[in-house]
């Protein structure tokens, strides 16, 4: 089965001049990617890499400076009303309406998508139930906890039953319970055949949810592939986090000094462990997306 491309970006560029002057900033410097139907694609990169700018261009919330960007085969900047009703966004910051109640937030949003108020009388309670917010239906947004606001923002994005969903850092700042709940919902959406584009700073989240990952930094695509492909391509299978002092006679594996300890990246875990002295303090784990991320984008702080 060939999957159609829901999103196609070709040489996508975004530049802007800061207000009050200064040099022109190139936020996105010509990136290419596709998002296939029914997949969850992750857009990963450090702060300032160009993820949110790309998301905004996709949503038509900012104008691209160059290149092509198609959604459903049409220019993203001039989608029809019909096509717009098939897309939803979970933005990075919860931008819920503080003047309305929880249920009113969903009703108004649904109507903005052209859904009749009579249909929403059933649909809004369903969504509240699905996001475990039923008891809060008449509360004002200001009375919700951070996790509840996030759930409401995600619920709001489901009100139009979208085919394509953008999730910009959906679980940032949430407790583990809320994260797990949101992951379940995202996986269910994927099962329903929806196309998802996700940004996140949590590599475990990306690894768990994404079929395909696009790594970007400094406005450029660094690499892309499935989590397993990326791990195989950029790091070895095992990571040994060995505390200092480092035993002297270790084999010359790829390693990285991270302060109190040194990370060793090795393919044959069992063989490496045998070489470690019995009294060495170390942590052994399979390599993950976090290793790939740091390998590709470096350890230097951003922002």
């Amino acid at each position: 089965m060939t999957q159609t491309n829901v999103i196609e970006a070709k040489n996508l560029v975004k530049t802007y001049t800061p207000r009050g002057g200064g040099p022109v900033v190139q936020a996105v410097k010509g990136i290419d990617f596709v998002v296939k139907q029914g997949t969850c694609t992750g857009l990963l990169g450090p702060n300032g890499a160009g993820k949110s700018t790309t998301m905004k261009m996709l949503m038509g919330l900012t104008q691209r400076s160059g290149g092509n960007l198609d959604i459903f085969g049409h220019d993203a900047a001039s989608l029809s009303r019909e096509e717009r009703t098939r897309i939803a966004l979970v933005p990075q910051d919860d931008n819920l309406d503080p003047d309305l109640t929880v249920a009113e937030n969903l009703t108004v949003y649904g109507m903005l998508f052209g859904i009749a108020r009579s249909l929403l009388k059933d649909r809004v309670p369903q969504i509240l139930n699905y996001m475990q917010l039923s008891e809060k239906a008449t509360a004002r947004v200001g009375q919700l906890s951070g996790g509840m606001k996030r759930r409401l923002t995600i619920g709001r994005a489901l009100v139009n039953d979208p085919d394509l969903l953008f999730l910009d850092e959906p679980t940032t700042g949430l407790d583990p319970q809320a994260r797990v709940m949101i992951w379940q919902r995202i996986l269910e959406l994927k099962k329903q055949g929806k196309t998802l584009l996700l940004t996140t700073h949590y590599m475990d989240e990306a690894q768990r949810l994404c079929d395909h990952i696009i790594m970007i930094d400094h406005g450029k695509v660094l690499d892309e592939g499935s989590p397993a492909e990326l791990i195989e391509r950029h790091v070895k299978k095992h990571v040994f986090d060995v505390s200092k002092p480092i035993p002297l006679d270790l084999p010359p594996e790829e390693s990285e000094d991270v302060g109190d300890s040194v990370l060793f990246y090795v393919d044959d875990g069992a063989a490496f462990r045998k070489r470690l002295p019995e009294d060495a303090t170390y942590l052994h784990r399979p390599a993950n997306m976090e290793d790939v991320f740091l390998r590709l984008t470096g350890r230097k702080l951003r922002d």
């Binding site: 001039s78 009703t85 309406d97 903005l112 052209g114």
Partner: protein, 265 residues
């Protein structure tokens, strides 16, 4: 930009949910808003009506209260619309980031701004009506009942014009602090020099021409004769309505254009 302005049917289909949104908001804040809007107007009515009114018998051939009431009514929109289209729009577009949320749906910016104008404009109706009831039945200061009824649509049109002007300020303001200038340099001078409190037709030339340049003068030029039964020539009606319609159309279009640019950059 091709779908920037949708078809007329789509245009209003998208405004309705936003009006409903404002309706929900109004349901929870109407008391506070009505009290504030109304008390504001009544303070001026009583202070000038009874204070100045005790010193002045007639103004422009009218009992002073009769002269004053239409001016106070017409100035309601200046204050309500300016507040709503400066601080209010700032709050919703920038503080609460509701505009990005709405624009992630099929609704487009011109529809958002139109909904803002329509709602704020309708919001002035209750306080104007109460003002009319008080002035008409208690102070007996509205000679023409039907004139007062006719004044209402004129005041709604004026609201749209005042709102559109305030939006044009907002699209150029990047710090809420600077909204204070709008009050100091726009609403207050307009309130003072548009003939709300005194007749400016015999004022020194610079003041007279200043008053002619202020849109509130043209609103009062319509509603005062309507409500007091003074003569109103067809030509002056056309000029005054034309000024208001032009301000609304030009101001609204400019605000849409600049706001779109500001949000999309």
């Amino acid at each position: 930009m091709t779908t920037y302005l949708a078809t007329t049917k789509d245009f209003f289909a998208n405004i309705y949910p936003l009006l409903l949104r404002f309706g929900y908001e109004y349901r929870s804040v109407w008391k506070a808003q009505l009290v504030r809007d109304l008390i504001d107007r009544l303070l001026y009515l009583f202070a000038f009506g009874f204070g100045m009114g005790a010193l002045i018998n007639q103004m422009d051939g009218l009992p002073y209260l009769d002269f004053l009431v239409p001016g106070i009514a017409a100035s309601t929109g200046v204050f309500v619309m300016t507040m709503a289209m400066t601080y209010g729009v700032w709050e919703r577009s920038t503080s609460y980031k509701l505009y990005p949320a709405w624009l992630a749906t099929p609704v487009r910016l011109p529809q958002v701004l139109m909904a803002e104008l329509l709602y704020a404009s309708l919001r002035t109706l209750p306080s104007i009506l109460i003002l009319f009831l008080l002035a008409g039945f208690w102070l007996k200061a509205i000679p023409s009942f039907w004139g007062a009824v006719l004044a209402l649509p004129v005041l709604m049109l004026a609201n749209l014009a005042f709102g559109a002007i305030a939006m044009c300020f907002t699209v150029h303001i990047y710090r809420p602090l600077h909204f204070a200038y709008v009050n100091t340099l726009w609403t207050t001078p307009m309130f003072l020099f548009s003939g709300v409190f005194f007749d400016l037709s015999h004022a020194p030339a610079p003041l007279y021409w200043l008053s002619q340049a202020l849109p509130l003068t043209h609103v009062i030029g319509l509603v005062r004769p309507l409500m007091t039964g003074q003569d109103l020539s067809a030509l002056s009606v056309l000029i005054d309505l034309g000024v208001l319609v032009t301000i609304f159309v030009v101001g609204y279009s400019y605000a849409c254009y600049r706001f779109q640019k500001r949000l999309l950059d």
